[in-house]
Amino acid sequence: MSSTVLSMEAVDLSFGPKRVLDGLTFSVPRGEAFGFLGPSGAGKTTTIKLLTRQLTRDSGRISLLGRPIENATAADYERIGILSDTSALYDRMSIADNLALYARLRGISRGRVPYLLERLGLAKDAKTLIKNCSKGMRQRAALGAALVHQPELLFLDEPTSGLDPAARAEVHKMLAELRQRGTTVFLTTHDMAEAETVCQRVAIINDGAIVACDQPEELKLRYARNRLTVRTRTRGRLELSKSRESAQQLEQLFAENEVLSVHSDEPNLEEVFLELTGREF
């Protein structure tokens, strides 16, 4: 069995004259949580649509669960769970009934529904109709529908948008557990903190092309500005590079009792993105 669950190789896609994906190449090994980051309109959702056969590429190769996507069977898609940006459940049915429907569609016992409700923090709202749910509750219920059959490969498009911090943390914990059990996660998000928490590797996409792909820590180190910010008593705020000369300068400042505080200016993924593209999220 191939260890690469998902891969794209030189994939292009255009909508009319506009090229939306340009030579996209990456691969995701089994059990990895892979983050796909980028600003709105960069091509994140389009990539998920290609990987889930909602769109067809112009050129290039896509492999899904170890075989070319055009050869993927219905049985292969039973091993996949998808939470899209428009995933929605039935308004006039309760959360529990919606999850039971998806369990039945997937051939899973509805006995798994109470466990999912508990894990998603929806147990006490199980009988609430979807039309009476908050956005966060709907999002968690839709996530439950995508997880009901314990998929090997999970596509999540902005899974925590609309969730409060506690619910978001619970979803992150769930995703960590899924990954530990070997589930491969392909996650698109705007939330850089989420990507750092959940993903082992991230790809940054801009204007349809991947501009960087690595572990979050590696990306941060690679694009680190290596600066120290020093607040002094009389000389204001100083920015020093992490060099021998700066160390001497800092030592001098300490000797003169000038230093109020020293901060290492660690970059985050958002700054890495800015560095790479010059665009704001």
Binding site: T52, Q54, A74, Y77, E78, I80, I82, S84, T86, S87, A88, L89, Y90, D91, R92, M93, D97, L101, Y102, R104, L105, R106, G107, A142, A145, A146
Partner: protein
């Protein structure tokens, strides 16, 4: 159980539960029954035979009333139960993205369409039966009535599936469902004049209505049934052709 049947069963259960909780759809089913009840007592109470001072006319008038009530029950059941529930049902699923969510859960368009078509037929037949029960018609007419109703519903269901898939949202569903509703109700308008009657007997439900008329009058013969049957079969064939030509294209557009 095969995955196909399992999913079909799940979709049927979901669609039935959803329909029962949808006030608009419940009204669509209740309306034909209400009208059948109203017409039965409204027309029946007029005792037209006596009013004409011709007691011998009473059985003829009773037969005419039975036909009007049953015909209206069939046409409205098909129009409201089949076309409205399908066109609005599919459009609502598209508008609220539940259809896409289902398809991302490895449910095929064929399974969704089949489940909706079967449910629409079941709802139509159930509504037709309720209309029959409140109509006071002799029970000897029950089997032909249901049989003709099923025949007449097939073409309308196929056309409604196409209209539902073509609808972007419930607003456009309102627009697209009107011509189908009018086609389904066409035989009712035939009672207004013989000219209209001559046209509407070639409507999708016109053949069904003509067969019902003959059954109520006791004039249903193999020879007489040929033209209405042929009309119905031609409409079913045309609707099936239209569905098969447009189905894949509509799926691609969606």
């Amino acid at each position: 159980m095969s995955p196909f049947l399992r999913k079909l069963g799940a979709l049927l259960g979901k669609d039935a539960a959803d329909l029962a909780k949808n006030p608009t759809m419940v009204l669509c089913v209740a309306l034909p029954v209400g009208f059948a009840l109203f017409y039965r007592f409204f027309l029946g109470d007029m005792d037209l035979g006596s009013a004409l001072r011709d007691e011998s006319a009473t059985p003829v008038v009773a037969s005419a009333v039975t036909y009007v009530v049953l015909s209206m029950g069939l046409c409205m059941s098909i129009g409201m139960g089949a076309s409205m529930s399908l066109v609005y049902g599919i459009a609502e699923e598209k508008e609220k993205h539940t259809l896409r969510t289902l398809m991302l859960a490895n449910v095929t368009a064929n399974q969704i369409v089949l489940a909706k078509g079967i449910l629409a037929l079941l709802v139509t037949v159930a509504t037709e039966i309720l209309c029959f029960l409140v109509s006071g018609a002799p029970f000897s007419l029950f089997l032909p009535y249901v049989g003709f109703g099923i025949l007449g519903a097939i073409a309308i269901i196929l056309l409604s599936l196409v209209a539902g898939l073509a609808s972007r949202d419930q607003m456009t569903a309102g627009l697209y469902s009107v011509p189908i509703l009018l086609l389904a109700l066409a035989p009712i308008f035939g009672s207004y004049s013989s000219d209209i009657s001559n046209v509407v007997r070639f409507a999708p439900t016109g053949g069904m209505d003509a067969l019902l008329h003959m059954a109520v009058n006791g004039t249903l013969t193999t020879a007489g049934a040929m033209v209405p049957l042929a009309t119905t079969v031609v409409w079913i064939a045309l609707s099936a052709l239209c569905f098969s030509l447009l189905y894949k294209r509509l799926l691609r557009d969606n």
